[in-house]
């Protein structure tokens, strides 16, 4: 984690209601809160939900009950940016659940992608793979590599493993898929895997 994301905020002063400290806290976190809200909502916005409202809800939650949630942050354990991002995600999910937003049925997301579809539509290609034949780690590695478009080094950095582990995991996943889908599927995957 980059140190630029560690905001020099006097949290103790925030707890006591110091205006300058609160201003520094808000200025240091509000951009990440907005980003995390948008990411959790899954796009620029959702019907019936306003990003600004959700951002305010995050800060209200931090301040509720004499700043109980804010006081629970431990600088020794994590960067403020990481913590506030995940607190934002949690708050946003709670708000979305309360709103009961319409969701896409899983069957609709499992259509085989075609070349003329946009990348986000083609992301569902991995969804067509029966998940019981792959381990969670194998699914995660394939999603990082093929859904998220990371290279092996970045995927290794995300998971905290060596790049060779990623390659090995991918190779084993492909072997399982070949075994499962038979020789016809292996024609399409052998060409790409070296």
């Amino acid at each position: 984690m980059s140190d630029t994301h560690r905001h020099p905020v006097d949290l103790e002063a925030c707890f006591t209601g110091d205006a300058a400290a609160w201003t520094a806290f808000v200025d240091g976190t509000i951009g990440l809160v907005i980003t995390a809200v948008r990411r959790t909502m899954g796009g620029p916005g959702a019907p019936g939900m306003d990003v600004d409202d959700l951002v305010q809800q995050v800060y209200v939650r931090l301040l509720q009950h004499d700043r109980r949630l804010l006081r629970s942050y431990d600088p020794a354990r994590s960067a403020l940016s990481t913590w506030i991002t995940l607190v934002t995600r949690s708050t946003t999910i709670d708000a979305l659940r309360r709103k009961r937003l319409p969701t896409v049925h899983v069957d609709a997301a499992l259509r085989i992608p075609t070349e003329d579809q946009p990348p986000e539509a083609r992301e569902s290609a991995l969804n067509a793979i029966p998940i019981d034949i792959l381990t969670d780690r194998q699914i995660l590695v394939l999603r990082l590599l093929y859904d998220d478009g990371l290279d092996v080094t970045d995927a290794a950095a995300v998971l905290g493993v060596e790049p060779q582990t990623i390659r090995s995991t991918r190779h084993k996943a492909m072997e399982r898929l070949r075994t499962h889908f038979g020789p016809e599927a292996s024609k399409t995957t052998t060409a790409g895997e070296g």
Binding site: I34, R39, V55, P113, I129, Y146, D151
Partner: protein
């Protein structure tokens, strides 16, 4: 945290499933759909402390519980990925939103709070007194005979046969 090496990017992209036509047949897809129904409807990962601790511990391998959640939650995976790689870009906030949020946490002086309540109470009392004064000055002198309410009757009628009428009607009507 290991640093990304962009030079190896193309060497490692061996199979692109996004361009793969996918597995033949629909049975496997049906099974996958059923399994995903069960998987994706599970409760989201809520152990924020564990997740935060792992994200900021750059060299720590991903715990199985977190792997499982990330494998099936694209939004969480997106956040974790960018946090781990230091690529989460803060957006800029509008001045209105910033001011609103700042106002949420600004201390409210006790005296100011008391002052607002006192002013509201004083205003209410003043309005009540003013209303009473206006009402008093607008009302002219009234006599008992001018009142035609239920209580307007003469006590001397109570012995008559129609005394009950006096209880209900004004004196001039009876």
């Amino acid at each position: 945290m290991m640093r990304p090496d962009r030079d190896v990017q193309h060497d490692d992209r061996e199979t692109d499933l996004r361009n793969d036509p996918g597995p033949p047949g629909t049975d496997a897809m049906h099974d996958a759909a059923e399994q995903l129904k069960a998987t994706d409807q599970s409760e989201p990962f809520t152990d924020i402390d564990a997740l935060v601790a792992w994200i900021d511990d750059g060299d720590a391998p991903c715990p199985e519980t977190i792997e499982k959640v990330m494998a099936h939650d694209p939004a969480l995976r997106s956040l974790v990925r960018d946090l781990r790689l230091g690529r989460l870009t803060p957006e800029s906030a509008s001045a209105t939103l910033r001011n609103t949020v700042l106002d949420l946490g600004m201390p409210r002086p006790i005296l100011a709070t008391i002052g607002r309540w006192s002013a509201a109470a004083a205003a209410a009392i003043a309005i009540a007194l003013l209303g009473f004064q206006l009402g008093t000055s607008a009302a002219g002198p009234r006599t008992l005979l001018q009142d035609n309410g239920l209580a307007a009757f003469g006590l001397d009628d109570t012995t008559s046969d129609e005394a009950w009428v006096a209880l209900l009607l004004p004196e001039d009507a009876s």
